[in-house]
């Protein structure tokens, strides 16, 4: 078993990877909106720790900047912003019923297995010891997408989207020790803008259809 050959810090990174995946599952299963936002913040925090660890282990200090961005945006700003929105929209106590949640969880488990299968050939290309995390980040991305599909409330969908972004970020950090700085800054900026835009959209949607339930928007076909 090669696990023993890894230094403790890299074992920590692997553990953080597993925990990030776990928070994805929690996001998928969580029905209360405020707790959902908190879980999302925790995912960001785990990502922050992972980035810092990678930065220290690999000695690439520019990763610290992106870690800082993660901390500022994903852990504090966006959750705070979302929470504020939720308070202003007065949906704090909303509980979303997720239909057949156990099936969705089983599906998510299958997605993890699938991403492992997909990531197998990619894994061979990377020489880094943390390459095993590619499958995890892919799974986080896919589960984020699954969340967008299965949720009805717009806020939950936004969080799903953001957690997809977390997965991308984690893939970049752990598999290739980060993207070029410009890209990372761009992505961070995008997320920031997206968060604000979504905020605006929430109000628009609610003004338009009187609810944040996107099932009321199902006119996306041409048959009329």
């Amino acid at each position: 078993m090669q696990m023993a050959a890894l230094p403790l810090s890299e074992q920590m990174i692997l553990t953080l990877a597993a925990l990030i995946l776990f928070t994805s599952f929690l996001l998928l299963a969580q029905t209360r909106i405020v707790t959902l936002i908190h879980t999302f913040a925790w995912q960001g925090a785990l990502l922050f720790f992972a980035t810092v660890l990678v930065a220290i282990v690999s000695g690439r200090h520019h990763l610290l900047i992106s870690a800082g961005l993660t901390l500022a945006l994903k852990v504090f700003f966006i959750p705070w912003q979302l929470r504020r929105l939720v308070v202003r929209l007065d949906i704090r106590r909303d509980v979303e019923t997720v239909g057949s949640s156990s099936l969705i969880m089983i599906g998510a488990g299958a997605l993890v297995l699938f991403s492992y299968y997909v990531a197998l050939p990619i894994r061979e290309l990377s020489m880094l010891s943390t390459r095993n995390t590619i499958a995890i980040s892919l799974a986080v991305i896919l589960i984020g997408m699954l969340m967008i599909i299965t949720r009805r409330k717009a806020v939950a969908q936004v969080i799903g989207f953001m957690s997809m972004e977390n997965g991308l970020m984690f893939a970049a950090v752990s598999a290739t020790y980060g993207m070029p700085m410009v890209v990372e800054l761009g992505v961070a900026f995008d997320v920031l803008v997206a968060a604000i835009l979504f905020g605006v959209f929430f109000f628009q949607i609610r003004n338009g259809i009187g609810s944040l339930n996107v099932d009321h928007l199902n006119r996306l076909n041409e048959v009329d």
């Binding site: 488990g109 993890v112 297995l113 492992y116 095993n132 995890i136």
Partner: protein
């Protein structure tokens, strides 16, 4: 021969230490809730009082009813005797591996549930039905946790598992974290603690374990209660020694054994505090929320297994 004698002593220690753990949890819980609380020794007094009391048996009771307490207690005690408690490398640990241990608990539960059905009251049937439902959901999670650990140490024998973990240099296994969390949740459900069942309640509509033993009195009741305490103790030792194996005696010298005893006492005390805190801060769940709770436990264990396959192999 020495080993067998030690094994018997260890099993006795486990059995007679179990009421203290139950009392300790209760004491800490009371302190957390700013109540006076009975002393941790109270369960011993309760048991000895029950052993001295007369027995009333329902006229509907069949031999199963009178047999069940003895059987439940002996099977649980046997399960305790195969646990590496203070030392590993005792001959009894070869009798059963973790899967057999789960089987022992299932056997004890089978008779407990039958005893609940025996006198033909609605309470007993209700308790049995609920207990069997919960346990059938908990069992896959336990097995999954066991599998996750067994995949790493390639053994299901408790003694070899623990010694493997002790001999290898320390590693941070992500899978162990998940399996540990999952096993904790299952323990809560299996030993009938809040938020799944309330060991203190006698409100008929919410109880599970107490509903099944409602008709018992005297020494029968004492055995049933003791078996429940023993079960809590065994699960505690299982978690403590599997996930925090340090301190357990590897060889059978007096010094090592003493250290082992101190270590396990400390671990169990901490675990008891954790349990008390959890019980204080959580509310009892509705019965039909329990499947979700156990589903979470299963997902945790599943993630543990997957992270073993994805992250730890190769």
């Amino acid at each position: 021969m020495n080993g067998w004698a030690l094994a018997v002593i260890q099993a006795g220690l486990l059995a007679f230490g179990a009421p203290f753990l139950a009392g300790w949890v209760k004491w800490v819980k009371c302190k957390l809730q700013c109540r006076q609380g009975p002393s941790p020794w109270q369960p011993y007094r309760n048991l000895s009082k029950l052993f001295r009391k007369d027995i009333v048996i329902s006229e509907q009771a069949s031999p199963v009813f009178r047999m069940a307490p003895y059987l439940v207690f002996s099977v649980t005690a046997l399960a305790g005797s195969v646990m590496p408690f203070v030392a590993i490398g005792l001959p009894t640990s070869a009798i059963a591996d973790v899967i057999v241990l789960v089987g022992f608990f299932a056997l004890a539960r089978f008779f407990l549930a039958l005893a609940g059905m025996d006198v033909g009251t609605a309470f007993g049937g209700m308790g049995s039905s609920r207990e069997m439902t919960i346990s059938s959901l908990a069992e896959p999670a336990i097995l999954m946790a066991v599998f996750t650990l067994a995949m790493t140490v390639s053994s299901t024998n408790l003694a070899s598992m623990i010694s493997h973990l002790l001999v290898e240099p320390f590693q941070l296994y992500p899978s162990f974290i998940f399996a540990g969390m999952g096993l904790l949740l299952v323990t809560v459900a299996e030993t009938g603690r809040i938020p799944v069942d309330n060991p203190a309640t006698h409100l008929e509509l919410t109880m599970i374990h107490e509903a099944m033993i409602l008709e018992y009195s005297g020494r029968h009741l004492a055995l049933m209660e003791w078996a429940a305490m023993l079960k809590l103790m065994i699960y505690g030792v299982l978690i403590a020694n599997l996930f925090i194996p340090w301190g357990i005696a590897l060889e059978l010298t007096p010094l090592a054994l003493a250290i082992g005893l101190v270590a396990i006492t400390g671990k169990l005390a901490v675990l008891g505090v954790v349990l008390a805190v959890a019980e204080t801060s959580l509310a009892k769940m509705r019965f039909f929320r329990v499947p979700q709770f156990l589903g979470l436990a299963f997902i945790l264990c599943l993630l543990g297994m997957l992270s073993h396959v994805i992250l730890e192999v190769r």
